[in-house]
Symmetry: C2
Subunit: 329 residues, 2 copies
DNA sequence: TTGTATGCGTTATCAA
DNA sequence: TTGATAACGCATACAA
């Protein structure tokens, strides 16, 4: 590996001038610029980013901390972040936290030792203090950590209401909800959206909302119980698509026809929902846009470019497929 | 951020001694060791990895280059790599190449500038020369670049044969194949496995193998055509699970009952296959093990630990679910 | 057992 | 317009 010194020697100039043409700042004579450029080419020289980082105290790296890339909601998000990182010449570090604060903290400090420039985090456990004392730019994604911290998310509450409304409009008479964990703010918001739509219905009762942990199997179990105890439920608003697939499987196992006997609507709009039979109707969020917006926000933040909105909330939109029986009341 | 110099001052020793206790090498008096440790604690000192990297010429980072994390085959692989990277204190960089050699090359050189210690690559375009002149440890994953380069993969040829055999044993009379791209070695091997099982059957004809590009929609289209042109096909061995889902969808659209009128078997064993209706029968590969083995191999390679086998090939195993009609001939 | 000095490869300051 | 040189924060060779 050639160093800047080798280039300098080859071009018959000092390292300072080489550095100047490299970063194109400061005056440099056209002739010597050419000489240096040629030397660089001949030696196949590439600047050493580590040395650069040491001097600049920044690494051109950003980290994405999320629960688990194996959860089908996250790959598209990660892809979006990676894409904008790539465009802006940042390198992208992926961290799976399994929702454990300990792991999050480990990644945070380990990467800080590498002069990482910033983080995007999907977390329900990180506190404002932790982020603050980290002293590195952070934007929250999908889940909000604090209103005072830049974030990108979607209109969970409103989306949930729309979803329930859609079920009602299509004739459902008794609508249940499979919720995500209460400590996840978006799960909480979706549940509230549901509750505020149904709480005053005469058919409503507490047993209609059960926890599915945002995972497939727990949701399947929860739905099975729910449907056994409340056979008159004819519509379910499920907190995310992954759980909705579990609900679909539960109905199938119980011999309940979807959508004839039971309408199901999910939330997220992940690709998985297109592959089930029947295909999943859902409240879709613009996952890729959410991810890339978070990355943009972070990079602007890092580079000191002021952002108009530092708390961005995307709208959601219903994706009509096959798990809701169409027809008015 | 405190530096080693701050710690030295605080403890009343030189930076060399601090370095010694940090890396626990060289002699150091127990008393001063304690003093230093305390100073470190008081100052909340963390060593600067960038400075370390510059000196050591290595970064404790490994890169994983794969086509697209959005393809449901890859998240589990990536997770496995990240897990062992994490255990061994390496940080994990994810790169999406979209199967473009140009992007691969960009990542390779960009990360080399950061003193990356090694790569795991899922690639069909990278050449031995490129890897060689990179002069950084590389292990090939899922797809073999050269027999002389460490690699981890599965028994594609044998698995394909088993899959076809399974279809035959269960009474299929005319078996087609939806293949992956021929330039992907594992797709080629799977196709060969199929061909070597059926080439001499009296029902075999060339039109029975069609390209599905290892993607869902192309496979769906290909299967639709295939099934229209060859209505007597009663079994399909599909080159991967993602395409198999497309085939399932095609059959559904054509009103062909699976598995009653058509048996389908995929390859890979990704989670997606469990969620379809009917659930996909497939040749499962130990995806997580494949990924973690590759990571182990790479890290041993990096750290100079000799590996017994540098070309590892895992076995595959049939996962019987619901898309193959059971029953002998 | 400990300290001093040097280098890892850059960038930026200051002179020239 | 260019060149010396001092950082950046650490680890090691060599002295002491």
């Amino acid at each position: 590996m050639a160093t800047i010194r080798d280039v300098a020697k080859q071009a018959g100039v000092s390292v300072a001038t080489v550095s100047r043409v490299l970063n194109s700042n400061g005056y440099v004579n056209e002739d010597t610029r050419v000489k240096v450029t040629e030397a660089i080419k001949e030696l196949n020289y590439l600047p050493n980013d580590v040395a650069r980082s040491l001097f600049k105290r920044r690494s051109k790296m950003i980290g994405l901390i999320l629960p688990d890339i194996t959860n089908p909601f996250f790959p598209e998000l990660a892809r979006a972040v990676e894409d904008v990182a790539n465009e802006t010449e940042y390198t992208f570090v992926l961290c799976n936290s399994d929702n454990q604060m300990e792991k999050e903290q480990q990644y945070l400090t380990a990467l800080k030792q590498k002069y990482i420039d910033g983080f995007i985090v999907v977390s329900s456990t990180l506190t404002t203090e932790q982020v603050h004392e980290l002293n590195v730019p952070v934007v929250a994604l999908d889940r909000i950590i604090s209103p005072h911290m830049p974030s990108v998310s979607v209109q969970n509450y409103e989306g949930a209401q729309e979803a329930v409304q859609y079920l009602i409009e299509n004739g459902c008479q008794k609508i249940a909800h499979i919720s995500g964990p209460d400590y996840v703010d978006n799960a909480h918001a979706r549940k509230q959206g549901y509750l505020d739509m149904v709480r005053d219905k005469d058919w409503y009762e507490d047993g209609l909302v059960v926890d599915g942990k945002y995972e497939l199997d727990p949701a399947k179990k929860a739905a099975t119980q729910l449907l056994e105890q409340h056979p008159d439920v004819d519509g379910i608003f499920v907190g995310n698509d992954l759980m909705a697939v579990g609900v679909l499987k539960a109905a199938e196992a119980l011999g309940i026809k979807v959508p004839e006997d039971l309408s199901i609507i999910g939330f997220d709009g992940i690709a998985l929902g297109e592959t089930t039979t029947p295909a999943l109707t859902t409240m879709g969020q613009p996952i890729y846009d959410v991810g890339s917006k978070a990355a943009e926000l972070l990079i602007n933040y890092i580079e000191g470019i002021p952002s108009v909105h530092s708390n961005h909330s995307f709208g959601v939109q219903i994706i009509e497929r096959e798990t809701v029986k169409k027809g008015g009341v």
